[in-house]
C-alpha cells in the first residue's frame, strides 16, 4: 500500500516536471556536475591513497635506505696516480658495523655493492647491474623467486660463485634455455645461475606457466662475500669517454627496524653515525616513512581543496534546484489551491513538491555518477594519475544528491503547503 502510494507520487512528480522539460533539464545539470565532481574527486583521492599505500609497501615503511653518492670531482680527495685517479667515497664496512652495533631495535641490515658488468651466456652478452648482497635481500627488496632459489646463507659463507638473475635478463640472455644450473660469465668470472627473481608487486603468482615471462628485472644478484673475494672494492667506471677508478665499499645499506615506530629514532642515530664517520656528505639517506608521511599530508590538503570544490558545486546545484522549485511553486499556486480544495492535506502538498525536487536531484545524481565514472577513467587514460572507483564513492554521491534534494526542496515545498487555499484558488 505504502509502496504503491510512493510509486504514484513519483509518477505524478515526473508528469508535473515534464511540463517544464527545458527547465528541469537545466536544473538537473547543476546536480550532475556536482555529483560528477564528488565522484571524480573521491576516485582521484582514492587513487592517490592507494599509490601511497603501495609505495609504503614497496619501499618498506620500516626501512631506512642509505646510498653512496659520488661528489663532484674537485671535492674528491683520494689517491692520485700518474695515469688515473682513484675516487674513494661512500658508505663503508665500518659504517655498517657501527649501525648493527648501536642502532636500536634493528631487525636486519642489508648491505649491497652495485656495479655494472657485461654478462655473457654463449654468444649473447649484455651490460647490466650486478648486486652483490646478502641472502635476506630478496625479502627486503620484495623479490619473488620465480624459479629455483635466491642466494643462500651457505653460498654466502662459502663464497660460492652463484647468482640469481632478474626475469628480463633470463629472457633476453637465455632465451629458450632454462637458465637454472647454467653457467654465466659476469665480467671475467663464471657464476652458476640458481634462480630467477622478479618484483613481487609487478608479477602476479603463476601456477604451471614458465614464470619468467613476466617481470622487468635485469639485475644479477650474487653473494657479497663472493664478489669481494674475487673483485675487491676497486672497480672501473666507464663513462663520458674516459674511465675512472673508484673505491666504494658499500653502494647501498638498508636498515630494517622491528616496528614503524622505531624508524624516526633510528634515523637520528644513523645520521649521527654518518656525520661522525664522514667528513663529506658522500651518502644519501632516505626514510620512506618520512616521505610517505609528507605525501599523506600533501594528499590531505589536496583532498580538502578538491572536496571544497565539489561541495561548492553541489551547493550551487542545490541552490539552482531551490530557485527553480520556488519559481515552480509560485507558478503553480492555483494548482496548489485546487488540490487543497480537492482534499490534499498540507503534507500531501509537501510530499508532492519534495518528491519533485528529489526526482530532479536523484536523476541528476544518477547521471552524475555515470559522468563520475567516465571522468576518472579519462583522467587515467590521458595522464598517469591513478584513479580508483570505490562502491563507497557511489553511495556518497547518491546520498549527497538525496540530501541536496531534501535540504533544498523542503523550503519550497513547505512554502507551497502553507499557502492559504482560498488565496491560492484566487491566484491568476
Amino acid at each position: 500500500m505504502k509502496i504503491v502510494r510512493i510509486e504514484r507520487v513519483v509518477r505524478m512528480a515526473v508528469k508535473n516536471l515534464a511540463q517544464y522539460k527545458m527547465r528541469a533539464g537545466l536544473t538537473v545539470l547543476g546536480i550532475i556536475f556536482g555529483v560528477c565532481s564528488v565522484v571524480a574527486m573521491l576516485s582521484v583521492g582514492e587513487g592517490a591513497s592507494r599509490e601511497i599505500q603501495e609505495q609504503l609497501q614497496q619501499q618498506g615503511s620500516r626501512n631506512i635506505w642509505l646510498a653512496s653518492e659520488k661528489l663532484p670531482e674537485e671535492q674528491l680527495s683520494g689517491g692520485q696516480t700518474n695515469s688515473s685517479r682513484i675516487a674513494i667515497y661512500g658508505l663503508t664496512y665500518d659504517d655498517a658495523n657501527r649501525f648493527s652495533r648501536i642502532v636500536p631495535n634493528l631487525e636486519s641490515l642489508t648491505p649491497s655493492k652495485k656495479v655494472r658488468f657485461d654478462v655473457r651466456f654463449q654468444d649473447r652478452s649484455k651490460e647490466t647491474e650486478i648486486v652483490a648482497t646478502t641472502p635476506w635481500c630478496a625479502e627486503i627488496k620484495n623479490l619473488r623467486v620465480l624459479a629455483g632459489r635466491f642466494i643462500s646463507p651457505r653460498d654466502m659463507e662459502e663464497g660460492a660463485p652463484v647468482c640469481a638473475i632478474g626475469a628480463r635478463l633470463a629472457r633476453t640472455l637465455f632465451a629458450a634455455y632454462d637458465p637454472i644450473g647454467k653457467n654465466m660469465k659476469v665480467g671475467n668470472d663464471v657464476y652458476r645461475v640458481v634462480g630467477v627473481v622478479a618484483d613481487k608487486f609487478s608479477t602476479p603468482e603463476f601456477e604451471n606457466k614458465p614464470p619468467w615471462f613476466v617481470g622487468d628485472e635485469e639485475q644479477v644478484y650474487i653473494p657479497l662475500k663472493t664478489y669481494v673475494q674475487r673483485n675487491g672494492d676497486m672497480f672501473v667506471r666507464f663513462g663520458g669517454g674516459a674511465s675512472t677508478m673508484e673505491k666504494v665499499e658499500l653502494h647501498e645499506v638498508i636498515l630494517t627496524l622491528r616496528e614503524q615506530d622505531h624508524v624516526m629514532q633510528a634515523a637520528e642515530v644513523v645520521r649521527n653515525v654518518l656525520r661522525g664517520n664522514h667528513s663529506r656528505e658522500d651518502y644519501q639517506i632516505k626514510v620512506p616513512l618520512q616521505l610517505i608521511r609528507q605525501m599523506q599530508a600533501t594528499r590531505r590538503l589536496f583532498n580538502i581543496v578538491l572536496g571544497s570544490i565539489a561541495a561548492i558545486s553541489l551547493i550551487v546545484g542545490g541552490i539552482g534546484i531551490m530557485n527553480i522549485m520556488l519559481a515552480t511553486v509560485s507558478e503553480r499556486t492555483r494548482e496548489i489551491g485546487i488540490r487543497r480544495a480537492l482534499g490534499a492535506r498540507r503534507r500531501d502538498i509537501v510530499a508532492q513538491f519534495l518528491v519533485e525536487t528529489l526526482v530532479l536531484s536523484i536523476s541528476g545524481g544518477l547521471i552524475g555518477l555515470l559522468g563520475g565514472v567516465i571522468i576518472p577513467k579519462t583522467i587515467t587514460f590521458l595522464t598517469d594519475v591513478r584513479t580508483v572507483l570505490t562502491p563507497l564513492s557511489f553511495i556518497i554521491a547518491f546520498g549527497v544528491s538525496v540530501a541536496v534534494g531534501i535540504v533544498f526542496g523542503l523550503y519550497p515545498a513547505r512554502r507551497a503547503a502553507l499557502m492559504d487555499p482560498i488565496e491560492a484558488l484566487r491566484h491568476e
Partner: protein, 244 residues
C-alpha cells in the same frame, strides 16, 4: 424530517487585516436539507464567497457552529478539514479549475488520489463519470484542448468522483455563453433530480429560478430565505429523501 446536510448556527466570520476588522458573515444561521437545491445570491461584498468557503471547509468560522452531515466541523484541524473536503464535498468553480498537466481522466480522479482509492477503482470510476457527462471520447485530452463547456463538465465529473454529500458551485456558468451555460445548468438540475444536495452561488436571476430555494445575503447577513422553486422539484427532492 431528516437531519440537515448543512447547518450553520449563528456563524460569524471576521477578518482582521492590518488592524482593520471586516465582518464578512454576521450571525448567519442556515439549514439545508438533503436533496435541496439552494442558491445564494447577493451583491459583491455581501459575503456569498465567504459563505461558500465556510461551507466548503476552506475557511474557518470566527464564531458559531457548522454541522456538516450532522458532524460538528467548526473546530477540526487542517488535516481533518482536508479529509472532509476530499470525501464529503464536491466543488464546481466558475473558472473550472482543472489541473492543466493532467488529462480529463486524471483530473476526474484527482480527489480519489487523496483518499488512497486503489488506482484501478479510481480509473474505472473516472471513466464512468466521463462517459456519463458525455466526455467519453475526450478522456485523454488535456484541459487546454477542451471548450469551456467541456471543461466545466470535467469539473462536474470531478466533483462527483468521491460521491460527496454536498455539491458546492461557484457561478458555474459565469464564464460560459448562454447556450453552454444552459447545458451545464441542465446537468446540475439532473444531479439534483437524482437527489444530490446542491448549493450554488450566482448573481443571475434566471439561474436562481431553477433552484427551489434562494438565500439572499446583504452585508454578511441573511436578507431573505425563500422557497421559489417549482413544486415539481420540491417533490422530487422529498421523494429522493423518502427513498433513503
Amino acid at each position: 424530517m431528516t437531519a440537515p446536510i448543512v447547518e450553520l448556527r449563528n456563524v460569524w466570520k471576521v477578518y482582521a487585516t492590518e488592524g482593520l476588522e471586516v465582518t464578512a458573515l454576521r450571525d448567519v444561521s442556515l439549514a439545508i436539507g438533503e436533496g435541496e437545491y439552494a442558491v445564494i445570491m447577493g451583491a459583491s461584498g455581501s459575503g456569498k464567497s465567504t459563505l461558500l468557503n465556510v461551507l466548503g471547509c476552506l475557511d474557518r468560522l470566527s464564531r458559531g457552529r457548522y454541522l456538516l452531515g450532522g458532524q460538528d466541523v467548526s473546530d477540526l484541524d487542517d488535516d481533518m478539514l482536508s479529509a472532509l473536503r476530499s470525501r464529503k464535498l464536491g466543488f464546481i468553480f466558475q473558472s473550472y479549475n482543472l489541473i492543466p498537466q493532467l488529462n480529463v481522466l486524471e483530473n476526474i480522479e484527482a480527489p480519489l488520489y487523496y483518499q488512497d482509492v486503489p488506482e484501478r477503482d479510481a480509473r474505472r470510476r473516472a471513466a464512468d463519470l466521463a462517459e456519463r457527462l458525455g466526455l467519453g471520447d475526450r478522456i485523454y485530452h488535456k484541459p487546454a484542448q477542451l471548450s469551456g463547456g467541456q471543461q466545466q463538465r470535467v469539473a462536474i465529473a470531478r466533483s462527483l468522483a468521491s460521491a460527496p454529500l454536498l455539491l458546492l458551485a461557484d457561478e458555474p456558468t459565469g464564464n460560459l455563453d448562454s447556450k453552454t451555460g444552459e447545458e451545464i445548468l441542465r446537468i446540475i438540475d439532473e444531479l439534483n433530480a437524482e437527489g444530490r444536495t446542491i448549493i450554488m452561488v450566482t448573481h443571475d436571476d434566471a439561474v436562481a429560478h431553477r433552484a427551489h430555494r434562494v438565500v439572499r445575503l446583504l452585508d454578511g447577513g441573511i436578507q431573505s430565505d425563500e422557497y421559489t422553486g417549482s413544486p415539481g422539484s420540491l417533490e422530487l427532492a422529498s421523494a429522493a429523501n423518502a427513498r433513503k
